[in-house]
């Protein structure tokens, strides 16, 4: 298994370290050449979403990334990554978000709470964080709330948290993402074939014929 980590700006090394601890191979994506490498999943890290969105456009990564995520590539977005996946930018996940929803740095905080599909006492570090105002389709599952606000969600192969699991020691959310990666590749032979080949994007178009993609 190989996971791509978007490395345009922000806390991408932290995500790589988490996956290395689990024993999963990762590589950084900074340009279309990097993106062309075969991958089983993608992580969109925290940072400034305005910067990352702008760089995605300038480096010609926006459209290829959007297409593959829409076509079933498992993606995990944290904080800025959540904003990128939302209707505000890539629009592949059906969630409306509020940026800097807790105000400036003085509003940053850490808490612990339960998260569905993960467990109890999950550490949650919010840095100038967004939250999800509302899902726009019923297939978005709310996984966690803090003070009533949605801070983690999943839509089939897409996982997002408004907080930063990569800043804490707890590997459970990264493990959940890897489960999602395995599930969506195992149930879809077309995709698995794609992962061993070099033209992942070509084959992934065929995954439209794979009904498992829509099973959660």
């Amino acid at each position: 298994m190989k996971i791509a980590v978007l490395a345009l700006q922000g806390a991408f090394i932290e995500h790589r370290r988490m996956l290395e601890r689990i024993g999963v191979e990762t590589f950084e994506v900074r340009n279309p050449r990097d993106w062309s490498h075969p991958k089983d999943g993608l992580i969109l890290p925290g940072g400034e979403s305005t910067v990352q969105a702008r760089l995605l456009h300038e480096l010609d990564l926006f459209e290829p990334l959007r297409r593959e995520a829409a076509d079933g590539l498992p993606v995990f977005g944290t904080c800025a990554g959540l904003i990128l996946l939302s209707t505000m930018h890539l629009g592949v996940m059906n969630i409306e978000v509020a940026r800097n929803a807790y105000g400036r740095q003085s509003g940053s905080f850490r808490t612990t709470g339960p998260m569905e599909q993960v467990g109890d006492m999950v550490p949650m570090t919010f840095i100038r964080a967004p939250y999800i105002m509302r899902p726009t389709t019923p297939d978005v599952q709310v996984l966690a709330r803090v003070d009533g606000r949605i801070v983690a969600a999943r839509q089939h192969h897409l996982l997002v948290t408004a907080f930063h699991p990569e800043l804490d020691d707890d590997l459970r959310i990264h493990r959940l993402f890897l489960d999602i990666v395995r599930r969506y590749s195992k149930q879809c032979p077309a995709q698995q074939q794609a992962m061993s080949g070099t033209t992942a994007s070509n084959v992934r178009h065929d995954s439209k014929q794979c009904p498992a993609r829509h099973v959660v």
Binding site: A7, R30, E48, T50, R54, A80, I127
Partner: protein, 290 residues
């Protein structure tokens, strides 16, 4: 306060791989944000103009800083004078995202820095050496930048400070356990922080480059030397085409290893800021607050 320190270090982690730009007006702040700045530094005069104007240079007018906070959605930083606890309290009161206790302004205290652990707001401080960096971290700084020589457009001091710091870090990492006490004594830094550097091989906080960065190539050079991001002060809004140069520097920091891209980014940027050689200037800001 322990939690605050951690959260404040973590905000700096989110800025990594980014460019923090000096801006003096809401309009400049918007240009910086549109060009891909990961944060802006709000100040009345950029270092090149502070240098030209001379005299005492102080914290900016809070109303001016507020105007910039309202103009952009990215983090806003502002500078206070070294040791000026009251200026820092004022900046904390207007809910600034990061304070730069900066040698660019005239120092208010020629012995003591601010006890930054007493604040909720995060601080970034300049440093030329590992000892300086660790002293600032001991005082509560949650982010470090090289001092360089601000307002010159000459990158030589930033290069020298970054090289010095990285080489000292490598030296500490290579020491024997029983040599650390002596190393702490020589660095004039707390043993626990020296031990951290020994074990981890890097500073306990994020380390940016600052002071004299003027071109995409300068920014790429600093990343190659181990900077985790770049501050650009006078380099952008003292140049011919600020928006284009700002955007080129942002891309250069992300793809600093890609020489083909750097070549394209460096084309037709218009006039760079007029540089002053760091050895020709009268006032060495880097020697303030050691």
């Amino acid at each position: 306060m322990e939690d605050r320190q951690t959260l404040n270090r973590q905000l700096a982690q989110m800025l990594k791989g980014g460019v923090i730009m000096d801006v003096t007006t809401p309009e400049q702040a918007r240009i910086a944000e549109d060009a891909g700045a990961c944060a802006v530094m709000a100040l009345e005069r950029i270092p090149a103009d502070i240098r030209a104007a001379g005299g005492v240079s102080r914290m900016s007018d809070p109303a001016m800083i507020r105007g910039i906070q309202e103009a952009v959605s990215i983090p806003v930083m502002a500078k206070c004078r070294i040791g000026h606890t009251a200026e820092a309290r004022i900046l904390q009161a207007i809910d600034i995202d990061y304070i730069d206790e900066s040698e660019v302004l005239s120092p208010a205290d020629d012995v003591f820095h601010i006890d930054k652990r007493q604040f909720r707001v995060p601080f970034v401080c300049g440093a030329r050496t590992l000892g300086e960096a660790l002293r600032r971290i001991a005082e509560g700084a949650t982010m470090i930048r090289t001092k360089g020589e601000p307002g010159t457009g000459d990158v030589v001091q930033a290069v020298s400070h970054m090289r010095q710091m990285q080489s000292e870090i490598r030296r500490i990492a290579a020491l024997r356990e029983d040599e650390l006490c002596e190393a702490a004594k020589q660095l004039q830094a707390p043993l626990e922080l020296v031990r951290f550097v020994h074990e981890q091989g890097h500073l306990p906080v994020v380390n940016f480059a600052a002071g004299g960065v003027a071109t995409p190539a300068d920014a790429a050079l600093m990343m190659e030397l181990g900077a985790e991001g770049v501050f650009v002060g006078s380099g952008i809004f003292k140049s011919g085409d600020p928006a284009k140069r700002a955007s080129a520097i942002v891309q250069a920091v992300t793809n600093w290893q890609d020489a083909d891209l750097l070549a394209r980014l460096s084309e037709n940027l218009g006039e760079a800021m007029v540089g002053i050689n760091a050895q020709e200037i009268q006032l060495l800001m880097a020697e303030r607050g050691l």
